[in-house]
């Protein structure tokens, strides 16, 4: 059953990703991204990351995507020519990305990590639960937690400053 769920979610994730790149209308790109994110949340559940899966659906597929939809609606669904007019880049992009993919696959499959062909280590009960994530965040990763909260504050203020209506030549 696990394999069936994995392959269904993987096909959904890749389909969503292809939809993002291939849709001409940005609005449909955003909707494809929602499909992709939900498929990734299913994969997180398979990997025993319950809290991350919930955060992915609520924060990402919920809040961030609403922001995207608002901006797409505000800017207008500008039809975007699908390919680069610059012929050099258009020809180079598939070559570059194909090389990157081959290199990544070689790096993953030839890494010699023995655990890569297993289901993973034995887990303690409660692995990936909100309580465990919260405990790690407030003990071992306290500095990262504080820095990230500061970053969010700065980003919010920066966005307000950037998107403010520019009066009297400021901005």
């Amino acid at each position: 059953l696990e394999a069936a769920v994995f392959f269904a979610a993987a096909v959904m994730a890749i389909g969503g990703a292809l939809g993002v790149v291939l849709q001409r209308n940005p609005f449909y790109s955003v909707l494809s991204l929602v499909v992709h994110l939900i498929a990734l949340a299913v994969l997180f559940l398979l990997l025993q990351a319950e809290f991350l899966a919930a955060a992915q659906v609520i924060v990402y597929a919920g809040a961030v995507m609403v922001l995207y939809v608002f901006v797409v609606a505000y800017v207008g669904g500008l039809e975007d020519p699908l390919t680069e007019p610059n012929p050099l880049l258009r020809r180079a992009a598939p070559v570059f990305v194909g090389t990157l993919l081959a290199e990544l696959c070689v790096a993953i499959l030839g890494s010699g990590l023995k655990a890569i062909d297993t289901h993973g280590a034995q887990l303690r009960p409660g692995f990936g639960s909100p309580s465990q994530v919260g405990e790690l965040f407030l003990t071992r990763f306290l500095v990262a937690f504080e820095v990230v909260s500061l970053l969010l504050l700065i980003a919010a203020v920066g966005a307000v400053v950037l998107a403010r209506r520019t009066t009297e030549g400021v901005g």
Binding site: L40, Y68, D80, I116, A121, L136, L152, G158, A163
Partner: protein, 99 residues
């Protein structure tokens, strides 16, 4: 499922996102494709956390999610500012960092 499958899937998603960043021209779609690449990285991090059986990778993935949210907020602010100044929505024409 073996951990390797998840890593290969994340490599695929990362490369699809990279194609999008290289080929598309609308800044909005490029932001979405960046999102795709960040999520591929997240999937690999969670897979490694499962492989090692510690929660560290999940914390890292959560931090990546927060940084991605910050990036989206600033990026969308820039796009709204571009729209308000009637600048062309094309990254090839936006090659100067002048206010």
């Amino acid at each position: 499922m073996d951990i390797g499958w998840y890593l290969v899937l994340s490599a695929f998603i990362f490369c699809i996102g990279a194609v999008g960043v290289l080929v598309r021209r609308s800044p909005l779609v490029i932001l979405i494709c960046l999102e795709l690449m960040l999520n591929a990285g997240n999937l690999a991090l969670v897979a490694f956390a499962r492989m090692r059986g510690t929660g560290d990778g999940q914390i890292f993935a959560l931090v990546v999610m927060i940084v991605a949210a910050a990036e989206v907020v600033v990026g969308l602010g820039v796009i709204v500012a571009m729209y308000r100044d009637r600048l062309p929505m094309d990254v090839d024409e936006m090659s100067e960092l002048k206010g």
